[in-house]
């Protein structure tokens, strides 16, 4: 073979450093994943299915009660005991011209037949705010109709009592009324701080990605061990380089997939907004409705859907740039942190089934992290939550909830400290997992025992 075609010394003179080998492993892992059809299936079909499921959940997952008996508490007689009855089949209204206490409504025998009561106080014409207390949460359709009926009646009152313009003119310049829907058993809305749940949702997505792609690390290592390719690789690449290359390569594929999800969901949301909820900012909606123009049928609903809370939440309340930026940051850091554990575990296992058993430990930790996020919503200011935000296992989700709740300017240091601790923990994790990896990667066929993790 010693032909004169080439000179081996030239080859060696192009020898690369450690980083180059790590990068070669990164690219191999990345290519391995992105050439699979399942990767693109999950990346492209996943978000579309998710959006469809969310829509169906909101469409079909609500109360199917067809007729609502509602008591309107109007002590100042603002509405003059009158309301439009365009939906006579769906609603039955009674008026009480007095203040009504929640306890009285719940316990009073005469109120038992009502499904909820609408509180319209004397300030409603100025602050445009009313509350509907329900026993069973009304569907989006019922919420929308009730909102519509109340608004129409109040517009009439407002125009006749406080202005000299016509109703039509008023509807062109009006501000929409804010009708809040509250659970009668949780009137202060303490348990359903929507913003916190949005943060929790983003944190849960982060943990979901960490788990899915952490498992990919574990599987990849156990496969390399079982097909023995690892020994060939280790003759050229140091174990830590191999481990790091694997974690980064799989992580990059996770980021690509996440990016595609965000892109598709953003496009989908834009289409939804433009096609179905385009009058979110259209103050003349009511007028349009009355004249019957511009009404579109969408899945059996009309454009009245624009008023529902979910749509408002998605399109107006969530600060996507901030939440997505921090979710991406915590995804990268959290993935690197947890990834070291998955890699260490993969290297220590003797068989693929071994790995499955010990994954339960990591799942338990991830479950605890989810629970920590929930605790952050319920006990936002407790000392426990204060410390949970610094623990690297829980900080990705706890910090996401706290970000959505809003850090006070004096508390920003907490967020920075959490991120710093997470970064330091990644390096400690890499050192620890690197040792486990080096020690375990060439052991095949044994049965992994818990004490093996602590042996030197």
């Amino acid at each position: 073979m010693e032909s004169d075609d080439f000179d081996a010394r030239n080859i060696y003179s192009r020898s690369s450093g450690k980083m180059k080998n790590t990068w070669i492993i990164v690219l191999r892992e990345l290519k391995e994943r992105i050439k699979k059809t399942s990767f693109w299936g999950l990346a492209l079909v996943g978000p579309i299915v998710l959006m469809l499921l969310v829509f169906l959940l909101f469409h079909f997952g609500e109360s199917k009660k067809e007729r609502w008996k509602i008591l309107i508490a109007d002590p100042a007689m603002v509405m003059d005991n009158r309301i439009l009855l365009g939906d006579a089949g769906a609603f039955e209204f009674d008026f009480i011209n007095d203040y009504l206490d929640l306890d009285d409504f719940l316990k009073g025998k005469r109120y038992q037949a009502y499904d909820g009561f609408l509180e319209v106080n004397e300030k409603v014409l100025s602050n445009k705010r009313a509350l509907f207390f329900y026993k069973e949460k009304p569907s989006l359709k019922i919420q929308t109709r009730l909102h519509y009926l109340l608004e129409k009646r109040l517009e009439e009152v407002y125009v006749s009592e406080l202005t000299k313009i016509s109703l039509q003119q008023y509807r062109e310049i009006k501000q929409p009324i804010n009708l809040g829907f509250r659970n009668i058993y949780d009137p202060e809305n303490q348990k359903s701080d929507v913003n916190s749940w949005v943060g929790w949702f983003f944190g849960a997505i982060v943990l979901f990605y960490i788990f899915i792609f952490g498992m990919a690390i574990l599987r990849s290592i156990t496969v390399e061990k079982s097909n023995r390719i690892v020994e060939v690789l280790l003759a050229t690449v140091q174990p830590k380089q191999l481990m790091l290359g694997k974690i980064i390569g799989i992580g990059l594929s996770a980021l690509i997939q996440l990016f595609i999800w965000v892109l598709i969901i953003s496009i989908g949301m834009y289409i939804f907004k433009e096609q179905f909820f385009q009058t979110l900012n259209d103050q003349a909606l009511a007028g349009n409705l009355q004249s019957g123009s511009g009404v579109k049928e969408v899945f059996g609903f009309t454009n009245l859907l624009e008023y529902n809370q979910f749509v408002e939440l998605v399109f107006q309340w969530i600060n996507f740039p901030v939440l997505l930026s921090f979710a991406s940051l915590f995804l990268v850091l959290g993935y690197l942190f947890y990834g070291t554990f998955f890699a260490g575990l993969g290297a220590m296992t003797g068989t693929e089934s071994d790995g499955q058993q010990y994954v339960i430990l990591i799942i338990a930790i991830l479950f605890f992290a989810l629970l920590s996020g929930y605790m952050t919503i319920i006990y936002a200011d407790s000392p426990m939550v204060y410390w949970l935000q610094y623990i690297p296992f829980t900080s990705p989700i706890v910090c996401m909830v706290k970000i959505s709740q809003g850090y006070a300017s004096t508390e920003i240091y907490q967020l920075i400290l959490s991120i710093l601790i997470l970064i330091i923990s990644i390096f400690i994790g890499l050192i620890f997992a690197g040792k486990q990896y080096q020690r375990g990667i060439l052991r095949f066929g044994h049965r992994l025992k818990f004490v093996d993790f602590f042996r030197r």
């Binding site: 073979m1 075609d5 081996a8 080859i11 391995e32 023995r228 060939v232 003759a235 060439l442």
Partner: protein, 303 residues
């Protein structure tokens, strides 16, 4: 080229290699022999820096072995594997790049070996489509793709049919002729006898035998010579006196035989020839070398 000095390694209090020293001479093939579990793979892994000695040192060209030297070593492990979802070319390219080669050089070397092994059409085949023997060829190519100065081959013939064993053996011989240094670990004693210049035998973590293979084979055993002759077997036996003992015979044709004679007392080969010369027509005589198989069994099983 590579030398080990007092190398020891243990795993959780179990001694895998105990104070082993030997050298691979440039341009020679060293056979590393030993029963299963003797410590051969541990030694080989230390020579590839996959494991590190607890005691002792390993040198490459007089320097302490370091990561940089690995680019000059080609390693074919006993437990070998390939990425099943990759194509042949992708796999060879990956290993070549990890060894610091450019794509052009990898392609050039790959084409050379593909032609040698007659596998020019496999380039875009996925590894999972290959038979075991075909995969073995790819693994061998991956080992030599970067033209290493030193080759460490652990059971290189396993999985090959006799035709391909011959092919690989010839390639190994050619590489030796071209000045490559080769360490061959194998349980195939016939291949060891055919290929190796020197051997090291490891048993129970220790080195028990080392030296030139021909010297070892001729020194071992019972000093037996084979004599090929034409004539009468009875006359041959009668000619032998107290200094010799007939220990075996083979009939080649009707009056041609090969007799195996053991030397006794101070008798020499010359004495034997003088004794027989007038009794039978001698066609040839040679020292019967002890097989590596016998030496292996003597050293391992009988101790």
């Amino acid at each position: 080229m590579i030398s080990l000095e007092g190398v020891s390694k243990s795993f959780q209090q179990k001694l895998a290699v105990d104070d082993v020293s030997f050298s691979l001479e440039k341009g020679k093939i060293l056979g590393l022999l030993g029963p299963n579990g003797a410590g051969k793979t541990t030694l080989i892994r230390m020579m590839n820096r996959i494991l590190f000695p607890d005691k002792g040192n390993i040198f490459f060209d007089g320097q302490l072995l370091n990561q940089k030297h690995l680019q000059h070593i080609g390693y074919l492990p006993e437990e070998r594997g390939l990425y099943k979802t990759m194509t042949v070319w992708e796999h060879v390219k990956l290993i070549g790049q990890l060894r610091g080669m450019s794509k052009v050089d990898i392609a050039q070397n790959y084409n050379y070996w593909a032609e040698k092994f007659g596998i020019e059409t496999w380039k875009n085949k996925r590894i999972e489509e290959l038979s075991k023997g075909m995969a073995q060829k790819i693994q061998f190519i991956c080992t030599v793709i970067h033209q290493p100065e030193v080759l460490i081959l652990d059971e290189p013939f396993s999985g090959f049919d006799p035709v391909n064993i011959e092919l690989v053996q010839n390639e190994i011989k050619t590489m030796r002729t071209n000045g490559k240094t080769i360490l061959l670990s194998s349980h195939n004693m016939k291949s060891v006898e055919e290929l190796c210049d020197n051997v090291v035998l490891i048993n129970q973590s220790k080195k028990v035998l080392e030296g030139n293979i021909n010297t070892i084979r001729s020194e071992r055993g019972d000093n037996i010579y084979a004599v090929r002759f034409q004539g009468n077997m009875i006359a041959f036996v009668n000619a032998l006196w107290a200094g010799f003992e007939l220990v075996g015979k083979e009939e080649v044709t009707g009056n041609t035989f090969i007799a195996y004679v053991k030397m006794r007392n101070e008798s020499s080969f010359n004495d034997l020839l003088n004794t027989l010369m007038n009794e039978v027509k001698l066609e040839g005589a040679w020292k019967v070398m002890t097989s590596m198989q016998e030496i292996f069994i003597q050293e391992v099983a009988e101790k």
